[in-house]
Protein backbone atom coordinates (compact mmCIF):
# COMPACT_ATOMS: atom_id res chain seq x y z
CA UNK A 1 0.00 0.00 0.00
CA UNK A 2 1.40 3.42 -0.96
CA UNK A 3 0.26 6.92 -0.21
CA UNK A 4 -1.25 7.10 -3.68
CA UNK A 5 -3.53 4.11 -3.17
CA UNK A 6 -3.60 0.31 -3.14
CA UNK A 7 -0.92 -1.81 -4.71
CA UNK A 8 -2.25 -5.34 -5.01
CA UNK A 9 -1.00 -8.58 -6.44
CA UNK A 10 -3.69 -10.49 -8.30
CA UNK A 11 -4.12 -13.59 -10.45
CA UNK A 12 -4.30 -12.99 -14.19
CA UNK A 13 -7.40 -14.31 -15.97
CA UNK A 14 -6.59 -12.52 -19.23
CA UNK A 15 -3.44 -10.56 -20.15
CA UNK A 16 -3.33 -6.88 -20.97
CA UNK A 17 -2.63 -3.43 -19.54
CA UNK A 18 -5.30 -0.84 -18.80
CA UNK A 19 -5.72 2.30 -16.73
CA UNK A 20 -8.80 4.23 -15.69
CA UNK A 21 -11.02 5.26 -12.81
CA UNK A 22 -12.58 2.47 -10.75
CA UNK A 23 -16.24 1.72 -11.30
CA UNK A 24 -17.58 -0.46 -8.49
CA UNK A 25 -20.62 -2.53 -9.48
CA UNK A 26 -22.88 -5.29 -8.32
CA UNK A 27 -22.58 -8.40 -10.56
CA UNK A 28 -23.39 -7.11 -14.03
CA UNK A 29 -24.75 -8.82 -17.14
CA UNK A 30 -23.10 -7.19 -20.16
CA UNK A 31 -26.02 -8.51 -22.26
CA UNK A 32 -29.10 -6.51 -21.30
CA UNK A 33 -27.11 -4.51 -18.73
CA UNK A 34 -24.85 -2.52 -21.05
CA UNK A 35 -25.23 -1.08 -24.55
CA UNK A 36 -23.06 -3.01 -27.06
CA UNK A 37 -22.31 0.09 -29.15
CA UNK A 38 -21.85 2.77 -26.45
CA UNK A 39 -20.74 0.94 -23.29
CA UNK A 40 -23.49 2.70 -21.34
CA UNK A 41 -25.06 0.98 -18.29
CA UNK A 42 -28.70 0.45 -19.32
CA UNK A 43 -29.93 -2.02 -16.67
CA UNK A 44 -33.08 -0.41 -15.23
CA UNK A 45 -32.20 -1.60 -11.72
CA UNK A 46 -28.52 -0.60 -11.77
CA UNK A 47 -27.79 2.32 -9.41
CA UNK A 48 -25.23 3.74 -11.88
CA UNK A 49 -27.57 3.55 -14.88
CA UNK A 50 -26.49 6.07 -17.53
CA UNK A 51 -22.79 5.88 -16.60
CA UNK A 52 -20.51 4.32 -19.25
CA UNK A 53 -18.15 1.44 -18.44
CA UNK A 54 -15.94 2.78 -21.25
CA UNK A 55 -12.34 3.33 -20.10
CA UNK A 56 -13.14 2.37 -16.49
CA UNK A 57 -11.58 -0.27 -14.28
CA UNK A 58 -14.74 -2.28 -13.68
CA UNK A 59 -14.68 -3.86 -10.20
CA UNK A 60 -17.31 -6.48 -9.31
CA UNK A 61 -17.51 -9.80 -7.52
CA UNK A 62 -18.48 -11.65 -10.73
CA UNK A 63 -20.41 -11.35 -13.95
CA UNK A 64 -24.04 -12.38 -14.05
CA UNK A 65 -26.57 -14.03 -16.32
CA UNK A 66 -26.61 -14.69 -20.03
CA UNK A 67 -23.69 -16.16 -21.97
CA UNK A 68 -24.52 -13.59 -24.68
CA UNK A 69 -22.47 -11.27 -22.45
CA UNK A 70 -19.34 -12.70 -24.14
CA UNK A 71 -20.52 -11.32 -27.48
CA UNK A 72 -21.48 -7.95 -26.04
CA UNK A 73 -18.09 -7.49 -24.33
CA UNK A 74 -16.21 -8.53 -27.50
CA UNK A 75 -18.30 -6.05 -29.51
CA UNK A 76 -17.60 -3.24 -27.03
CA UNK A 77 -13.86 -3.96 -27.23
CA UNK A 78 -14.06 -3.97 -31.06
CA UNK A 79 -15.73 -0.55 -30.99
CA UNK A 80 -13.33 0.83 -28.40
CA UNK A 81 -16.12 1.44 -25.85
CA UNK A 82 -15.26 -1.43 -23.47
CA UNK A 83 -13.78 -1.13 -19.97
CA UNK A 84 -10.03 -0.50 -19.51
CA UNK A 85 -9.74 -3.49 -17.17
CA UNK A 86 -11.95 -5.81 -15.12
CA UNK A 87 -11.28 -6.89 -11.51
CA UNK A 88 -13.26 -9.91 -10.30
CA UNK A 89 -13.38 -12.01 -7.13
CA UNK A 90 -14.71 -15.12 -8.91
CA UNK A 91 -13.31 -16.56 -12.15
CA UNK A 92 -16.01 -15.89 -14.74
CA UNK A 93 -15.74 -17.87 -17.98
CA UNK A 94 -18.34 -15.75 -19.79
CA UNK A 95 -16.48 -12.47 -19.22
CA UNK A 96 -13.07 -13.99 -19.98
CA UNK A 97 -14.39 -15.53 -23.22
CA UNK A 98 -15.34 -12.06 -24.51
CA UNK A 99 -11.79 -10.86 -23.83
CA UNK A 100 -10.18 -13.92 -25.46
CA UNK A 101 -12.22 -13.36 -28.64
CA UNK A 102 -11.45 -9.63 -28.79
CA UNK A 103 -7.74 -10.44 -28.50
CA UNK A 104 -7.97 -13.10 -31.23
CA UNK A 105 -10.00 -11.00 -33.67
CA UNK A 106 -8.90 -7.43 -33.00
CA UNK A 107 -5.65 -7.65 -30.98
CA UNK A 108 -7.36 -5.68 -28.20
CA UNK A 109 -6.07 -7.00 -24.87
CA UNK A 110 -8.39 -6.39 -21.93
CA UNK A 111 -6.73 -7.24 -18.61
CA UNK A 112 -9.01 -9.32 -16.37
CA UNK A 113 -7.68 -10.11 -12.91
CA UNK A 114 -8.82 -12.04 -9.87
CA UNK A 115 -8.49 -10.82 -6.28
CA UNK A 116 -9.76 -12.12 -2.94
CA UNK A 117 -13.34 -10.96 -2.20
CA UNK A 118 -12.22 -8.81 0.76
CA UNK A 119 -9.68 -7.04 -1.48
CA UNK A 120 -12.48 -5.57 -3.60
CA UNK A 121 -13.02 -3.03 -0.82
CA UNK A 122 -9.44 -1.77 -1.26
CA UNK A 123 -10.46 -0.45 -4.70
CA UNK A 124 -12.58 2.65 -4.07
CA UNK A 125 -14.92 4.09 -6.65
CA UNK A 126 -13.43 6.73 -8.94
CA UNK A 127 -9.79 6.13 -7.87
CA UNK A 128 -7.34 6.04 -10.82
CA UNK A 129 -5.88 2.53 -11.21
CA UNK A 130 -3.49 0.79 -13.57
CA UNK A 131 -4.05 -2.95 -14.08
CA UNK A 132 -1.18 -4.96 -15.56
CA UNK A 133 -1.68 -8.65 -16.27
CA UNK A 134 0.65 -11.13 -17.97
CA UNK A 135 -0.15 -14.81 -18.56
CA UNK A 136 -0.15 -15.76 -14.86
CA UNK A 137 0.33 -12.86 -12.50
CA UNK A 138 -1.13 -9.40 -12.29
CA UNK A 139 -0.83 -6.16 -10.40
CA UNK A 140 -3.27 -3.38 -9.56
CA UNK A 141 -1.61 -0.04 -8.83
CA UNK A 142 -3.30 3.08 -7.50
CA UNK A 143 -2.26 6.30 -9.25
CA UNK A 144 -1.93 9.82 -7.87
CA UNK A 145 -5.39 11.21 -8.04
CA UNK A 146 -4.68 14.45 -9.87
Amino acid sequence: MTASGPDLRARSLHPGVGAGRCLRSEPLSFWGGTDPSTGMLIDERHPRRGVAITGRVLVMRSGRGSSSSSSVLAEQLRRGVGPAAIVLAEPDAIVVTGAIVAAELYQRFLPIVLVDPEQLDLLPDDRMMTVTADQATAQIRGEDDT
Binding site: S70, R79, A93
Partner: protein
Protein backbone atom coordinates in the same frame (compact mmCIF):
# COMPACT_ATOMS: atom_id res chain seq x y z
CA UNK B 1 -3.18 -32.16 -20.04
CA UNK B 2 -3.62 -32.42 -23.83
CA UNK B 3 -3.25 -35.60 -25.89
CA UNK B 4 -0.78 -35.68 -28.77
CA UNK B 5 -3.62 -35.26 -31.25
CA UNK B 6 -5.04 -32.30 -29.31
CA UNK B 7 -1.60 -30.66 -29.17
CA UNK B 8 -1.25 -31.06 -32.93
CA UNK B 9 -4.62 -29.41 -33.51
CA UNK B 10 -3.69 -26.59 -31.13
CA UNK B 11 -0.52 -26.12 -33.18
CA UNK B 12 -2.58 -25.67 -36.36
CA UNK B 13 -2.23 -29.04 -38.08
CA UNK B 14 -6.02 -29.21 -38.64
CA UNK B 15 -6.21 -25.63 -39.91
CA UNK B 16 -6.28 -22.17 -38.39
CA UNK B 17 -9.99 -22.30 -37.45
CA UNK B 18 -9.55 -25.47 -35.40
CA UNK B 19 -6.44 -23.95 -33.79
CA UNK B 20 -8.40 -20.82 -32.81
CA UNK B 21 -11.11 -22.99 -31.21
CA UNK B 22 -8.48 -25.09 -29.42
CA UNK B 23 -6.90 -21.93 -27.97
CA UNK B 24 -10.29 -20.83 -26.60
CA UNK B 25 -11.03 -24.27 -25.11
CA UNK B 26 -7.61 -24.74 -23.50
CA UNK B 27 -7.72 -21.28 -21.92
CA UNK B 28 -11.17 -21.93 -20.50
CA UNK B 29 -10.18 -25.42 -19.36
CA UNK B 30 -7.41 -23.82 -17.29
CA UNK B 31 -9.83 -21.21 -15.91
CA UNK B 32 -12.35 -23.93 -14.97
CA UNK B 33 -9.72 -26.16 -13.38
CA UNK B 34 -10.33 -28.97 -15.89
CA UNK B 35 -7.64 -31.62 -16.06
CA UNK B 36 -8.29 -32.46 -19.71
CA UNK B 37 -10.57 -32.03 -22.69
CA UNK B 38 -13.17 -34.76 -23.24
CA UNK B 39 -15.00 -35.83 -26.41
CA UNK B 40 -18.54 -34.53 -26.94
CA UNK B 41 -20.91 -36.25 -29.38
CA UNK B 42 -23.20 -33.33 -30.33
CA UNK B 43 -23.54 -29.58 -29.94
CA UNK B 44 -26.25 -26.91 -29.86
CA UNK B 45 -25.08 -23.38 -30.70
CA UNK B 46 -26.48 -20.05 -29.54
CA UNK B 47 -24.04 -17.74 -31.38
CA UNK B 48 -26.45 -17.16 -34.28
CA UNK B 49 -28.42 -14.44 -32.43
CA UNK B 50 -27.04 -11.08 -33.54
CA UNK B 51 -25.40 -8.89 -30.87
CA UNK B 52 -22.98 -6.97 -33.07
CA UNK B 53 -20.26 -7.27 -35.66
CA UNK B 54 -17.91 -9.28 -33.40
CA UNK B 55 -20.14 -12.37 -33.70
CA UNK B 56 -20.15 -12.08 -37.50
CA UNK B 57 -16.38 -11.57 -37.61
CA UNK B 58 -15.84 -14.68 -35.48
CA UNK B 59 -17.96 -17.09 -37.53
CA UNK B 60 -16.63 -15.65 -40.79
CA UNK B 61 -13.06 -16.19 -39.56
CA UNK B 62 -13.96 -19.88 -39.12
CA UNK B 63 -15.83 -20.21 -42.40
CA UNK B 64 -13.10 -18.33 -44.29
CA UNK B 65 -10.51 -20.89 -43.20
CA UNK B 66 -12.65 -23.82 -44.34
CA UNK B 67 -13.65 -24.90 -40.82
CA UNK B 68 -16.72 -27.13 -40.30
CA UNK B 69 -18.38 -28.70 -37.28
CA UNK B 70 -16.98 -32.09 -36.22
CA UNK B 71 -20.14 -33.42 -34.50
CA UNK B 72 -23.89 -33.23 -35.24
CA UNK B 73 -24.85 -29.65 -34.38
CA UNK B 74 -28.16 -27.79 -34.15
CA UNK B 75 -28.68 -24.01 -34.16
CA UNK B 76 -30.56 -21.85 -31.69
CA UNK B 77 -32.82 -18.94 -32.69
CA UNK B 78 -31.51 -16.12 -34.82
CA UNK B 79 -32.79 -12.54 -34.84
CA UNK B 80 -34.97 -13.10 -37.94
CA UNK B 81 -37.93 -15.20 -39.09
CA UNK B 82 -36.47 -16.48 -42.35
CA UNK B 83 -39.76 -18.11 -43.41
CA UNK B 84 -41.91 -15.01 -42.81
CA UNK B 85 -39.77 -11.99 -43.71
CA UNK B 86 -41.34 -8.72 -42.64
CA UNK B 87 -42.71 -9.95 -39.28
CA UNK B 88 -39.55 -8.86 -37.44
CA UNK B 89 -39.24 -5.07 -37.26
CA UNK B 90 -35.46 -4.66 -37.63
CA UNK B 91 -33.69 -1.99 -39.70
CA UNK B 92 -32.33 -2.94 -43.13
CA UNK B 93 -28.76 -2.81 -41.76
CA UNK B 94 -29.54 -5.05 -38.77
CA UNK B 95 -31.49 -7.45 -40.99
CA UNK B 96 -28.52 -7.77 -43.34
CA UNK B 97 -26.09 -8.33 -40.45
CA UNK B 98 -28.38 -10.89 -38.74
CA UNK B 99 -28.77 -12.72 -42.08
CA UNK B 100 -25.02 -12.80 -42.56
CA UNK B 101 -24.52 -14.24 -39.07
CA UNK B 102 -27.12 -16.99 -39.61
CA UNK B 103 -25.60 -17.80 -43.04
CA UNK B 104 -22.17 -18.15 -41.41
CA UNK B 105 -23.42 -20.77 -38.96
CA UNK B 106 -25.10 -22.72 -41.79
CA UNK B 107 -21.82 -22.64 -43.70
CA UNK B 108 -20.12 -24.41 -40.78
CA UNK B 109 -22.35 -27.40 -41.50
CA UNK B 110 -24.74 -27.02 -38.56
CA UNK B 111 -28.43 -27.93 -39.01
CA UNK B 112 -30.55 -24.80 -39.56
CA UNK B 113 -33.05 -25.76 -36.87
CA UNK B 114 -33.24 -22.16 -35.50
CA UNK B 115 -34.85 -23.23 -32.26
CA UNK B 116 -34.20 -22.92 -28.53
CA UNK B 117 -35.84 -26.37 -28.20
CA UNK B 118 -33.61 -28.66 -30.29
CA UNK B 119 -35.02 -31.53 -28.22
CA UNK B 120 -38.32 -30.92 -30.10
CA UNK B 121 -36.45 -31.15 -33.42
CA UNK B 122 -34.97 -34.62 -33.02
CA UNK B 123 -31.77 -33.68 -31.16
CA UNK B 124 -32.02 -35.94 -28.09
CA UNK B 125 -28.74 -37.35 -26.76
CA UNK B 126 -29.19 -40.28 -24.39
CA UNK B 127 -28.63 -40.77 -20.68
CA UNK B 128 -25.03 -40.17 -19.63
CA UNK B 129 -23.81 -39.00 -23.06
CA UNK B 130 -21.35 -36.06 -23.08
CA UNK B 131 -22.45 -33.09 -25.24
CA UNK B 132 -21.85 -29.32 -25.49
CA UNK B 133 -25.04 -27.28 -25.56
CA UNK B 134 -25.74 -23.58 -25.28
CA UNK B 135 -28.97 -21.66 -24.44
CA UNK B 136 -30.01 -21.90 -20.81
CA UNK B 137 -33.34 -23.73 -21.33
CA UNK B 138 -31.78 -26.20 -23.77
CA UNK B 139 -28.94 -26.85 -21.31
CA UNK B 140 -31.26 -27.50 -18.36
CA UNK B 141 -33.58 -29.73 -20.45
CA UNK B 142 -30.64 -31.70 -21.84
CA UNK B 143 -29.18 -32.31 -18.37
CA UNK B 144 -32.40 -32.86 -16.45
CA UNK B 145 -34.94 -34.48 -18.78
CA UNK B 146 -32.67 -36.29 -21.25
CA UNK B 147 -29.96 -37.05 -18.68
CA UNK B 148 -27.20 -36.19 -21.16
CA UNK B 149 -24.33 -34.11 -19.74
CA UNK B 150 -23.47 -30.56 -20.74
CA UNK B 151 -21.92 -27.72 -18.85
CA UNK B 152 -23.22 -24.14 -19.40
CA UNK B 153 -21.90 -23.20 -22.83
CA UNK B 154 -22.49 -19.98 -24.71
CA UNK B 155 -21.22 -17.74 -27.46
CA UNK B 156 -17.83 -18.69 -29.02
CA UNK B 157 -17.26 -21.64 -26.65
CA UNK B 158 -20.24 -23.61 -28.00
CA UNK B 159 -18.95 -23.39 -31.57
CA UNK B 160 -15.39 -24.13 -30.42
CA UNK B 161 -16.71 -27.39 -28.94
CA UNK B 162 -18.66 -28.20 -32.13
CA UNK B 163 -15.63 -27.58 -34.36
CA UNK B 164 -13.23 -29.65 -32.23
CA UNK B 165 -15.64 -32.21 -30.76
CA UNK B 166 -14.08 -31.41 -27.37
CA UNK B 167 -15.02 -29.70 -24.11
CA UNK B 168 -13.27 -29.02 -20.79
CA UNK B 169 -13.87 -31.82 -18.27
CA UNK B 170 -15.54 -29.61 -15.68
CA UNK B 171 -18.88 -28.60 -14.20
CA UNK B 172 -21.88 -30.76 -15.06
CA UNK B 173 -19.85 -33.16 -17.20
CA UNK B 174 -18.71 -34.65 -13.87
CA UNK B 175 -20.96 -36.95 -11.82
CA UNK B 176 -20.08 -35.36 -8.48
CA UNK B 177 -21.37 -31.94 -9.64
CA UNK B 178 -24.75 -33.40 -10.62
CA UNK B 179 -25.96 -34.18 -7.09
CA UNK B 180 -28.85 -32.22 -5.62
CA UNK B 181 -28.14 -29.18 -3.44
CA UNK B 182 -31.64 -28.41 -2.08
CA UNK B 183 -34.88 -30.41 -1.78
CA UNK B 184 -38.13 -28.69 -2.77
CA UNK B 185 -40.97 -30.71 -1.26
CA UNK B 186 -44.23 -30.26 -3.21
CA UNK B 187 -46.30 -32.92 -1.45
CA UNK B 188 -48.42 -30.30 0.38
CA UNK B 189 -49.85 -28.97 -2.93
CA UNK B 190 -53.26 -30.25 -4.01
CA UNK B 191 -53.42 -32.98 -6.64
CA UNK B 192 -55.43 -30.61 -8.83
CA UNK B 193 -52.78 -27.88 -8.71
CA UNK B 194 -50.02 -30.43 -9.32
CA UNK B 195 -51.84 -31.63 -12.43
CA UNK B 196 -51.93 -28.14 -14.00
CA UNK B 197 -49.26 -26.94 -16.43
CA UNK B 198 -49.40 -23.41 -14.98
CA UNK B 199 -47.78 -24.69 -11.75
CA UNK B 200 -44.49 -25.73 -13.37
CA UNK B 201 -43.04 -22.37 -14.46
CA UNK B 202 -43.92 -21.14 -10.95
CA UNK B 203 -42.04 -24.05 -9.39
CA UNK B 204 -39.15 -23.20 -11.70
CA UNK B 205 -39.19 -19.61 -10.53
CA UNK B 206 -39.07 -20.75 -6.89
CA UNK B 207 -36.27 -23.18 -7.73
CA UNK B 208 -34.25 -20.37 -9.32
CA UNK B 209 -34.67 -18.27 -6.18
CA UNK B 210 -33.93 -21.16 -3.80
CA UNK B 211 -31.14 -22.97 -5.65
CA UNK B 212 -29.35 -20.13 -7.47
CA UNK B 213 -26.82 -21.96 -9.62
CA UNK B 214 -27.25 -25.18 -7.61
CA UNK B 215 -29.23 -28.35 -8.36
CA UNK B 216 -32.81 -28.36 -7.00
CA UNK B 217 -34.48 -31.72 -6.31
CA UNK B 218 -38.29 -31.85 -6.38
CA UNK B 219 -40.19 -34.38 -4.32
CA UNK B 220 -43.94 -34.99 -4.15
CA UNK B 221 -44.50 -34.82 -7.92
CA UNK B 222 -44.05 -38.47 -8.92
CA UNK B 223 -47.77 -39.31 -8.68
CA UNK B 224 -48.61 -36.47 -11.08
CA UNK B 225 -45.69 -37.37 -13.36
CA UNK B 226 -45.32 -34.02 -15.14
CA UNK B 227 -44.71 -34.38 -18.88
CA UNK B 228 -42.07 -32.85 -21.11
CA UNK B 229 -43.92 -29.57 -21.66
CA UNK B 230 -44.20 -29.02 -17.90
CA UNK B 231 -40.54 -29.95 -17.30
CA UNK B 232 -39.49 -27.66 -20.16
CA UNK B 233 -41.35 -24.73 -18.57
CA UNK B 234 -39.96 -25.52 -15.12
CA UNK B 235 -36.37 -25.68 -16.35
CA UNK B 236 -36.56 -22.59 -18.54
CA UNK B 237 -37.89 -20.47 -15.68
CA UNK B 238 -35.39 -21.87 -13.15
CA UNK B 239 -32.54 -21.11 -15.56
CA UNK B 240 -33.77 -17.52 -16.04
CA UNK B 241 -34.67 -16.67 -12.45
CA UNK B 242 -31.57 -18.32 -10.97
CA UNK B 243 -28.87 -20.02 -12.95
CA UNK B 244 -30.15 -23.57 -12.73
CA UNK B 245 -28.60 -25.90 -15.35
CA UNK B 246 -29.81 -29.19 -13.85
CA UNK B 247 -32.76 -30.22 -11.70
CA UNK B 248 -34.11 -33.56 -10.58
CA UNK B 249 -37.72 -34.66 -10.06
CA UNK B 250 -37.70 -37.79 -7.90
CA UNK B 251 -39.48 -40.65 -9.64
CA UNK B 252 -39.69 -38.71 -12.92
CA UNK B 253 -36.31 -37.56 -14.32
CA UNK B 254 -33.69 -40.16 -15.28
CA UNK B 255 -31.01 -39.44 -12.66
CA UNK B 256 -33.51 -39.40 -9.79
CA UNK B 257 -35.12 -42.83 -9.46
CA UNK B 258 -34.89 -42.21 -5.70
CA UNK B 259 -34.18 -39.19 -3.49
CA UNK B 260 -30.97 -40.83 -2.27
CA UNK B 261 -29.85 -41.29 -5.88
CA UNK B 262 -30.50 -37.64 -6.73
CA UNK B 263 -28.51 -36.51 -3.68
CA UNK B 264 -25.66 -39.04 -4.13
CA UNK B 265 -25.87 -39.54 -0.37
CA UNK B 266 -25.40 -35.87 0.53
CA UNK B 267 -27.32 -34.18 3.34
CA UNK B 268 -29.03 -31.03 2.02
CA UNK B 269 -31.72 -28.63 3.28
CA UNK B 270 -35.42 -29.14 2.50
CA UNK B 271 -37.88 -26.37 1.65
CA UNK B 272 -41.58 -27.26 1.87
CA UNK B 273 -43.75 -25.27 -0.53
CA UNK B 274 -47.46 -24.81 0.07
CA UNK B 275 -50.18 -23.07 -1.90
CA UNK B 276 -49.35 -19.69 -0.35
CA UNK B 277 -45.70 -20.00 -1.40
CA UNK B 278 -46.55 -20.84 -5.01
CA UNK B 279 -49.31 -18.22 -5.27
CA UNK B 280 -46.88 -15.54 -4.06
CA UNK B 281 -44.23 -16.73 -6.54
CA UNK B 282 -46.81 -16.68 -9.33
CA UNK B 283 -47.66 -13.08 -8.44
CA UNK B 284 -43.98 -12.07 -8.57
CA UNK B 285 -43.93 -13.16 -12.23
CA UNK B 286 -46.40 -10.36 -13.12
CA UNK B 287 -45.59 -6.65 -13.26
CA UNK B 288 -49.14 -5.52 -14.04
CA UNK B 289 -52.28 -6.09 -11.97
CA UNK B 290 -54.84 -4.15 -14.02
CA UNK B 291 -57.19 -5.30 -16.79
CA UNK B 292 -55.38 -3.67 -19.70
CA UNK B 293 -54.16 -6.15 -22.32
CA UNK B 294 -52.45 -5.43 -25.67
CA UNK B 295 -50.93 -8.77 -26.63
CA UNK B 296 -50.45 -12.41 -25.67
CA UNK B 297 -47.18 -14.27 -26.25
CA UNK B 298 -46.96 -18.06 -26.07
CA UNK B 299 -44.05 -20.31 -27.01
CA UNK B 300 -40.99 -19.40 -24.91
CA UNK B 301 -39.31 -21.92 -25.11
CA UNK B 302 -40.72 -22.72 -28.56
CA UNK B 303 -44.17 -24.33 -28.63
CA UNK B 304 -44.18 -28.12 -28.97
CA UNK B 305 -46.65 -30.10 -31.05
CA UNK B 306 -48.48 -31.13 -27.87
CA UNK B 307 -48.76 -27.48 -26.79
CA UNK B 308 -50.16 -26.67 -30.26
CA UNK B 309 -52.68 -29.48 -29.71
CA UNK B 310 -53.70 -28.08 -26.31
CA UNK B 311 -54.11 -24.59 -27.78
CA UNK B 312 -56.10 -25.89 -30.74
CA UNK B 313 -58.38 -27.75 -28.32
CA UNK B 314 -59.01 -24.53 -26.37
CA UNK B 315 -59.76 -22.69 -29.64
CA UNK B 316 -61.74 -25.49 -31.25
CA UNK B 317 -65.13 -23.91 -30.51
CA UNK B 318 -64.48 -21.38 -33.28
CA UNK B 319 -64.38 -18.23 -31.15
CA UNK B 320 -61.86 -15.60 -32.17
CA UNK B 321 -59.55 -13.18 -30.40
CA UNK B 322 -60.50 -9.60 -29.57
CA UNK B 323 -59.40 -7.29 -32.41
CA UNK B 324 -57.33 -5.13 -30.01
CA UNK B 325 -55.22 -8.05 -28.74
CA UNK B 326 -52.35 -9.45 -30.83
CA UNK B 327 -51.67 -13.12 -30.16
CA UNK B 328 -48.15 -14.31 -30.99
CA UNK B 329 -46.93 -17.90 -31.03
CA UNK B 330 -43.18 -18.63 -31.23
CA UNK B 331 -42.11 -22.05 -32.49
CA UNK B 332 -39.60 -23.85 -34.69
CA UNK B 333 -40.03 -24.60 -38.38
CA UNK B 334 -39.88 -28.33 -37.54
CA UNK B 335 -42.77 -28.14 -35.06
CA UNK B 336 -44.68 -25.79 -37.38
CA UNK B 337 -44.58 -28.43 -40.14
CA UNK B 338 -45.87 -31.12 -37.75
CA UNK B 339 -48.58 -28.86 -36.35
CA UNK B 340 -49.64 -27.95 -39.89
CA UNK B 341 -49.93 -31.60 -40.85
CA UNK B 342 -52.05 -32.24 -37.75
CA UNK B 343 -54.39 -29.35 -38.57
CA UNK B 344 -53.57 -27.32 -35.43
CA UNK B 345 -52.12 -24.41 -37.40
CA UNK B 346 -55.38 -23.88 -39.31
CA UNK B 347 -57.32 -23.79 -36.04
CA UNK B 348 -55.09 -21.30 -34.25
CA UNK B 349 -54.62 -18.96 -37.22
CA UNK B 350 -58.38 -18.99 -37.89
CA UNK B 351 -58.80 -17.65 -34.34
CA UNK B 352 -56.39 -14.83 -35.18
CA UNK B 353 -53.04 -16.04 -33.78
CA UNK B 354 -49.86 -15.16 -35.65
CA UNK B 355 -46.97 -17.63 -35.75
CA UNK B 356 -43.32 -16.68 -35.78
CA UNK B 357 -40.50 -19.20 -36.36
CA UNK B 358 -36.68 -19.22 -36.27
CA UNK B 359 -36.64 -16.52 -33.56
CA UNK B 360 -38.67 -15.44 -30.52
CA UNK B 361 -40.79 -12.48 -29.47
CA UNK B 362 -38.53 -11.48 -26.55
CA UNK B 363 -35.17 -11.32 -28.36
CA UNK B 364 -36.05 -9.34 -31.47
CA UNK B 365 -38.61 -6.60 -32.30
CA UNK B 366 -41.86 -8.36 -33.24
CA UNK B 367 -44.54 -6.81 -31.02
CA UNK B 368 -46.36 -3.72 -32.26
CA UNK B 369 -44.50 -0.61 -30.98
CA UNK B 370 -47.57 0.55 -28.99
CA UNK B 371 -47.73 -2.68 -26.96
CA UNK B 372 -47.64 -2.00 -23.20
CA UNK B 373 -49.16 -4.99 -21.39
CA UNK B 374 -48.57 -8.57 -22.54
CA UNK B 375 -49.90 -11.81 -21.07
CA UNK B 376 -47.90 -15.04 -21.25
CA UNK B 377 -47.83 -18.54 -19.83
CA UNK B 378 -44.03 -18.50 -19.97
CA UNK B 379 -42.09 -17.80 -16.80
CA UNK B 380 -39.01 -17.12 -18.92
CA UNK B 381 -40.80 -14.57 -21.08
CA UNK B 382 -42.26 -12.95 -17.96
CA UNK B 383 -38.76 -12.71 -16.46
CA UNK B 384 -36.99 -11.16 -19.47
CA UNK B 385 -39.57 -9.17 -21.45
CA UNK B 386 -39.99 -6.19 -19.09
CA UNK B 387 -36.23 -5.48 -19.33
CA UNK B 388 -35.74 -6.43 -22.98
CA UNK B 389 -38.88 -4.89 -24.45
CA UNK B 390 -40.00 -2.32 -21.88
CA UNK B 391 -43.46 -3.91 -21.52
CA UNK B 392 -45.47 -4.92 -18.47
CA UNK B 393 -46.31 -8.59 -18.16
CA UNK B 394 -49.12 -10.70 -16.72
CA UNK B 395 -48.34 -14.35 -16.07
CA UNK B 396 -51.18 -16.89 -16.37
CA UNK B 397 -52.12 -20.31 -17.69
CA UNK B 398 -52.65 -21.00 -21.38
CA UNK B 399 -56.39 -21.07 -20.64
CA UNK B 400 -56.28 -17.67 -18.94
CA UNK B 401 -54.27 -16.28 -21.87
CA UNK B 402 -56.89 -17.52 -24.36
CA UNK B 403 -59.86 -16.23 -22.35
CA UNK B 404 -58.18 -12.86 -21.87
CA UNK B 405 -57.28 -12.56 -25.55
CA UNK B 406 -60.92 -13.24 -26.46
CA UNK B 407 -62.36 -10.73 -23.99
CA UNK B 408 -59.75 -8.05 -24.71
CA UNK B 409 -58.80 -7.70 -21.04
CA UNK B 410 -56.94 -9.68 -18.40
CA UNK B 411 -59.18 -12.41 -16.95
CA UNK B 412 -57.86 -14.50 -14.05
CA UNK B 413 -59.05 -17.81 -12.67
CA UNK B 414 -57.81 -18.10 -9.09
CA UNK B 415 -59.79 -21.25 -8.29
CA UNK B 416 -56.91 -23.72 -8.14
CA UNK B 417 -54.58 -21.33 -6.31
CA UNK B 418 -56.56 -21.19 -3.05
Amino acid sequence: MLSADQRARLAGEAGSGVALCMRILTKLARLRGARRLIAVESAHLDGCLYHGQAGVDFVERLVGSGTTVAVPTTLNVGSLDLLHPGLVRTSAADTAAANRLMAGYRALGARPTWTCAPYQAGHRPGLGRQVAWAESNAIVFCNSVLGARTDRYGDFVDVSAAVTGLAPEAGLHLTANRRGTVIIDCSALSAELRSMDVLYPVLGYLAGELAGTGVPVFTGLAATSPGEDALKALGATAASAGGVALFHVVGVTPEAPTLEGALQGADVPTVVVDVDTVRAARDRLSTSSGERLDAVSLGTPHLSVTEFAALAALLGDGGSFHPDVDVWLSTSRAVLAEAQAAGYVDTVTAAGARIIVDTCTYVTPVLHPGTRVVMTNSGKWAHYAPGNLGVDVVFGSMGECVRSARQGKVVRDDGVWS
